[in-house]
């Protein structure tokens, strides 16, 4: 169960107080009528399903009722930041990738069913990701 920092309440609260609302930063087209069926369909139905960094919209449903965004690692479930509506994430897959090449941050490689492979195998998987 997640421990989520509500950027409005400025407190860590239990996941039970929140509802997830899917991928963040999905902007409704300004002029829907000008969209082709395909463009409109993309907006309605297509979402990312990344392995790693994901920006998600959540709502503090039984708290302050405010919507906000979470940057979460879908592999480790680490929440890297939460930020208010209208703000941009500080942590992104790109920003982490550039840090990784500098050797600062280790991107966890988990999520597979079989764990305990040798460190060499783990390195190989990391190599695939990179």
């Amino acid at each position: 169960m997640f421990h989520i920092y509500c950027p409005y309440c400025e407190e860590l609260r239990e996941e039970e107080e929140f509802h997830p609302k899917g991928q963040a930063h999905i902007e409704r087209p300004k002029d829907p009528e000008a969209c082709s069926d395909e463009e409109w369909g993309d907006y309605l139905f297509f979402r990312d399903n990344p392995r790693g960094i994901h920006h998600e919209l959540w709502v503090h449903a039984v708290g302050c009722r405010k919507f906000f965004n979470i940057t979460r690692n879908t592999v480790t479930y680490d929440i890297l930041e939460t930020y208010k509506m209208g703000e941009q994430p500080r942590v992104t897959a790109e920003s982490l990738a550039s840090q990784q090449t500098q050797g600062n941050v280790q991107v966890a490689s988990g999520g597979q069913q079989t764990v305990g492979a040798s460190s060499a195998a783990a390195e190989a998987i990391k190599g695939e990701q990179a």
Partner: protein, 1016 residues
Amino acid sequence: MSKSLKQPNRLREGGRIDRSRKLSFTFNGQRYQGHAGDTLASALLANGVDIVNRSFKYSRPRGIVAAGAEEPNALVQLGSSEAAQVPNVRATQQALFEGLVARSTNGWPSVQRDLMGMVGKLSGSLMPPGFYYKTFMAPASMWMTYEKYIRKGAGLGRSPMEPDPDIYDHLHQHCDLLVVGAGPAGLAAALTAARSGARVILCDEQEEMGGSLLDSRELLDHQPAAQWAARVLEELAGLDNVTLLARTTANGYHDHHFVTLHERRTEHLGETAAVKGGYRPARSRMHRVRAGQVILATGAHERPLVYANNDVPGNLLAGAVSTYIRRYGVVPGNKLVLSTSNDHAYRAALDWQDAGREVVAIVDARLSPSGDLVEQARERGIRIIEGSAVLEAKGGSRVSAARVAAIDIGAFKVTGQAETLACDTIASSGGYSPVIHLASHTGARPTWNEEILGFVPGLVKGVHAAGSAHGVHDLGEGLADGVAVAARALEALGVSARAVELPQVDARREGLACALYQVPHEKPTLRAPKQFVDLQNDVTAAAIEIATREGFESIEHVKRYTAMGFGTDQGKLGNINGMAIAARCLGRSIPEVGTTVFRPNYTPVTFGAIAGRHCRELFDPERYTALHQWHVEHGAEFEDVGQWKRPWYFPQTVNGKQETMHEAVARECLAVREKVGILDASTLGKIDIQGPDAREFLNRVYTNKWLKLEVGRVRYGLMCKDDGMLMDDGTTSCLGENHFLMTTTTGGAAGVLEWLELWHQTEWPELQVYFTSVTDHWATMTVTGPEARKLLAEVTDIDLARDQFKFMDWREGTVAGVPARVFRISFTGELAYEINVQANYAMHVWKTLFEHGDKYGLTPYGTETMHVLRAEKGFIIAGQDSDGSVTPEDLGMQWAVGYDKPFSWIGKRSLSRSDTRRSDRKQLVGLKPKDPTVVLEEGAQIVFDPEHAIPMPMVGHVTSSYYSPTLGGGFALAVVKGGHQRMGETVYLPMADGKTHAAEIVGTIFYDPKGERQNV
């Protein structure tokens, strides 16, 4: 030392039991005696009970193997009464109490003379590896047959058939540092953190804290190690910043350092918690801990060696033998053969000899072992057979001998002539596997450490391992490790660690262990007697070999194919051996093969502890309207609508007989159509919307137009998602230029509020508008029927004249002397007034209406009548007649769609998608059964051609269907492909009973199509 008479294996002295307190207990109907401080397992061993169960698959007799959570065999069913039944308790973890009643979970009719045993060989050949997999591939009907057979044979325990008399609590805890395990490393870590001022929780699953210190042969500060443990625990108990939780298992490690601890409060005292002073204490507690940092000092499980017939009672773990002798004063046999790959296990032989029993031999797989413990054994003159191992145990219901021979581990071969040693106990040790379960729950990968021949836990940020849990098995090093790890955790917390003086440990020389898992046999594995890997699931080395031969190369596949590590065991004892065997068969190394995933819970948790107080009336809250008590007093039957209890219908007693629902609903319907009825509509969702942009906001979230709605007027609106599908409907009233009251469906209230907030906060934050739920603040009473105006006129100061208070108007005034808002909207098709008053005035108003209503035939009606009446009018219920795939156009409600509104409101663009423009979409129509006595089944599938070969193309289904007393027959609403163009056509509804109903497609309005009755 010699035997006590009643308990043949009990030593006269020693152990941590209280000899002054005798406890009697019953196992499989037989009465025995033990002592306070015993576990059920130690008491059974003291009494010389060899067979405690029959095995899962082969029905072989099984005895106690271990002394803790890793015990695979001694699963018992506890409870003297039906309500107190607890399945699958490990006898090694159950403290003995007076009057304890336990049975083997398996063994039919008894473990001693097991009928299943006779078919054991048969069932064994019936259940080869991959049995489950292969059976699931077979027809499902065969599985049903197998399943009964397996259940009966396997006896996985059973649930109580009566309610649990006990109560269970949930506690929410926060701490800086959670230390799991109160052995040497855990105690050292907790002491360091506690003295440094951190808030610490220390938990330990055993009856007594101290872990291996409780049965250690080693001295700390020249005193028994248990004394140091007692001193530390005493200090910790006196500190305000420390919470000690004994008998508390950390069962699950969840996200973000959320750990569930299961504390058993009374299970060591009796089968149910004893009532004291009219108060029943909680039987157990679930601590839901959020920790800043976590130290896993969970120790290690000893690995047994895998040799032939290693499951015969009398085969034990070496460490368990020491524990039973030193902690419980029980020596589980007379003549011991120890088979080991390491020095540490020599303790078992030394303890055995100290207990005055014979050590036949120590069989060491290593050549020239030389550690201090080995030297001690040599000095005592114990025979040590080097480079050898026990190949096979002999005996049926108890070990009678061990066959021992020299082996070549690398070549996996027996190299010497086997010697048979008469004995009744074989203790084995193949090394120590760190208990990595909790760390694995976090998803972190364990890694193989060749030095300690075990997996060490992978650790996510904030989690630390200490002591044996990451392979630091030496006592002195483990203590130091606890302090060092605590210092690291404290640093992460920003707390400066205070130094802790550690007790002095005598230096000990320990030889290197060798890597031995499966012991070779003269015969190949597939032909040798069974060599068990997972005792609980009856998985043998041969089964793993077969699995690899059949092409299962991934350890996860091998697990599923053989069932290794399944069930309550979760691979505690057998997993590493199984992996080692798979690795040998596949010609790979253990780290290449990897380990399977351990999942919560570490040991089984009773459902009561998971449910806590969230049961019975607290399972799910019930919501009552302000008028609930009146409904109860007037005999209402209730219907659940979301969490609300709504009156369903009000059966009356007619001629001494209570009406059926059908009769009551018919009477209520006619009362509304002919006189006047009243409905408690308080559960409708109500959202107060205010702000200068409220009107614009409504215009965007509803499909229809709102800009010109005047103060005092009401409008019905449809709400779609942006995919154009109907989400909810309701009326919204203009209370003031910047003030509206929206109603939603009863079930949709919370969702609609969140929906409005979503659009406001994420897309249109520039709009100034505010939403407040006022559902509970207002009670709503619908007075409807031809006499409604006359009745209401008697109790209100509002001018009800037809031209003054028109249909779809609302007015403010008083009703029964109470401030009220009255809305002239109709869900019945009759003249109707919805009276809203402050909820706490509702009962007064309701009763006043009845005082005046008698002469008009005022009749209370419930949701069923409401449904019939609205369906007769073709009024939809969102969520019943629509299901998330239905557009307003599919419902034929184009009249409520503002196609020319300037803002592209939510859902508009989707109505022109190619999919929503299809002419063969399912569309809402009315259905009139050809036989008027037929009431179609809701959900029934519709076909065009009943003569079509099966499977017939299904073209729609019935969404609402009722008997109408007004129409004198059944009628229905349904969705039918292209239905709007099929008026007058006949469709068919094939039913499960073989009958096929015919119905005509008609319009959705069955009654008063022009809407004159609501407009009078």
